[in-house]
Assembly symmetry: C2
Homo-oligomer: 147 residues x 2
DNA sequence: TAGTAATCAGATAAATTAATCTGATTAAAA
DNA sequence: TTTTAATCAGATTAATTTATCTGATTACTA
């Protein structure tokens, strides 16, 4: 298999994007998120719990409780979620798996991959959840509907 | 964890790159490859066996046997190894894990990721093992030596 | 021809990741 | 105050990936 982010991270990103579409003060239960995104309820719940521990997400227990963003969508970037769940090894390790890949001891594709890695990092760092809101809503609305 | 290629694929790429540095007609045993690249012998052996089945690598049994490239290094591209081991799902699936990500139903980072994906594909497709030979030799020679 | 060292094949073990289950706690609402 | 529906916490299970083991076969070499 070939993967960029682990399932945990993919689900985490999706869930946080979902939370960013809620209106001010609203929250969403693990059950709701699970249904809307068609991902396992207990799993997404666990993931959001771990993000709660890192203050990216907050939660309220009890009836009508749920999860909501830990700070405004305009202040959260995708990279924060990735870092909290998968870490940043993607941006530090050699793409071919060679040990200690560095500019003065580069693997055969070191330079090319370096540029790509930078762009990927930029993609996750440049924009906030707020910026993605419209696109996120459009995407989420298509889930579960056959085209 | 965050990964581009599976360990199997990383080891496969390294092993094939190693084979590309051998001189015409030479071959390397799984044991030699394992020692030089510092990766598990039985594992790399298994991986090369699977590549043998796909004609990318050939092998000879018996004493003084080993593995060697199935065709000239000047005719093998990295993408062939990746495809044989991990498949090309990296280049087809949504980076955020959304179902059915496409130009007319894009995820929030669809366009940006699309460009990156293309460059990554290019990196694996443009050059042959022959082209990487010098860099490969330099890299391999540093393994196991402290700087 | 016997010994040795290699691939090959398939089973198994270990580790990691993904997913589920169970029970406790919390808090709103009837 | 009781019921209900949610998070939370931790254990457990399932699936996948990574790694190892064992025995058979092959072919070179002494």
């Amino acid at each position: 298999m070939t993967v960029i982010f682990s399932k945990k991270c993919e689900y985490g990103l999706q869930a946080v994007l979902y939370l960013s579409t809620l209106e001010e003060g609203a929250m969403a239960s693990a059950d709701e998120i699970s249904r809307k995104l068609e991902i396992p309820k207990e799993f997404v719940s666990k993931i959001l719990q771990s993000l709660t521990a890192k203050k990216l997400v907050k939660s309220r227990k009890g009836n009508s409780g749920g999860f909501f963003l830990g700070k405004p969508a305009s202040k959260i970037k995708l990279i924060e979620i990735v870092e909290a769940i998968d870490g940043l090894s993607l941006f530090n390790n050699c793409v071919l798996g060679f040990p200690e890949c560095s500019p003065d001891n580069p693997c055969p594709v070191h330079n090319k991959w370096g540029k790509l890695r930078e762009s990927a990092y930029k993609m996750l760092t440049d924009e906030t959840l707020e910026h993605f809101k419209k696109k996120t809503i459009a995407k989420i609305n298509t889930i579960g509907k056959k085209k």
